[in-house]
Subunit: 192 residues, 2 copies
DNA sequence: CTCGTTTGCCAACACTTGTTGGCAAACCAT
DNA sequence: ATGGTTTGCCAACAAGTGTTGGCAAACGAG
């Protein structure tokens, strides 16, 4: 009963939309192109998803799917996070669609904010020496992870693209670890 | 002789273009809107800049203007870089225009690449323990600096927006410093 | 089979986009 | 003043956009 004959079409549209949004961003990804990829008429997209914004909302539904790090040793959480993030990015183009769009569409930016606050926030809350710093620490982690993804997958800076995954893990893990559990070095916070 | 009467108009168009590209990105910034901001007819934009791409190229002309860090102590270069980058970003919207556009336009991405390779590369080349790692280290610095800018100015993650400039410097300086002069910790590069 | 429902396509809409050509006013050297 | 050049605006174009309504074929319960 719940299985309609059009479910395959719906899924094809969604898959094509994710791909187009990921490679072209929201504006350049046209309904017509998405429909063509899904081998369907553009009007079907509207019938099944209402409008372009709603289609994007459906296509950009994303979960970091962070594993439970409860039993990971405190000083290894950074590495685990970096590794998971890198894998997640590589096998799901949704994050790419989200980032490419979040830069110019407020709704997508808001989703990005809620993903990072909602999923990295709790981890930071558990690890931060001072609970009041949890949000700040989650933000710091986001800057490094998103910066890496931006440079590697979107801007494609050659040295960042060429870097083997494990070397990236080696470089970024200590950074993320420090953002989560380290202390602020006040030495740097005063002009000299 | 070289000072034409239309130079003021040209400048007004360029200023309006920079602003629109910075806040809206390339696609959403329309020639008509830019012309309206400059209180000029859209056709003038075309006459003076040829087409939209060329206008963007002119508006997105950017230089990091890194100071000569030759006499900065080796272990303070990270802090100096972070501070300079933050200031540069705050008082020149060109970088914002560039980033918002580089995410979907290859030409802008290429310009971003050349800016970071050409301006951070030499610094990394001078500081890197191993000259062969210079490009990689410059790329690492780019991930953290661009990631910070992305989260603070574009995505506007609340904790990153709220962070005082000097606290940001305190957090990011050690990271950048390590990317420039630190050693890779192989401990993190093996699964356990 | 029969008839209402679902699925799909076609054609068109209203609108916005970058871009162009022509025309009038302002300018400026002679 | 005169003639050519510069500056600006208007109106329009061609192309592409999201979106809509209607119509035909396929489907599926009775």
């Amino acid at each position: 009963m719940t299985a309609r004959r059009s479910d395959a079409t719906r899924a094809a549209i969604l898959a094509a939309a994710r791909e187009r949004f990921a490679t072209d961003g929201f504006e350049r990804a046209t309904i017509r192109a998405i429909a063509a990829d899904a081998r369907i008429d553009p009007s079907m997209v509207m019938r099944y998803y209402g409008n372009k914004e709603a289609l994007f909302a459906a296509a950009a539904d994303f979960d970091l799917r962070l594993p439970d790090l409860g039993d990971t040793p405190r000083d290894e959480v950074g590495a685990a996070l970096v590794r998971h993030f890198l894998e997640r990015w590589e096998d799901d183009e949704t994050l790419m669609a989200l980032l490419r769009t979040a830069v110019t569409k407020e709704a997508a930016a808001e989703r990005m904010r809620s993903i990072f606050a909602g999923q990295i926030g709790p981890i930071a809350a558990r690890l931060s020496p001072d609970p009041a710093q949890a949000a700040t620490r989650a933000g710091l982690v986001a800057t490094q992870m998103l910066g890496f993804a931006l440079c590697r997958f979107v801007l494609r800076l050659p040295p960042v693209v060429a870097m083997p995954a494990e070397e990236a893990v080696a470089w970024f893990s200590p950074t993320v670890q420090r953002y989560l559990t380290g202390e602020v070095d006040l030495y740097f916070s005063h002009d000299r």
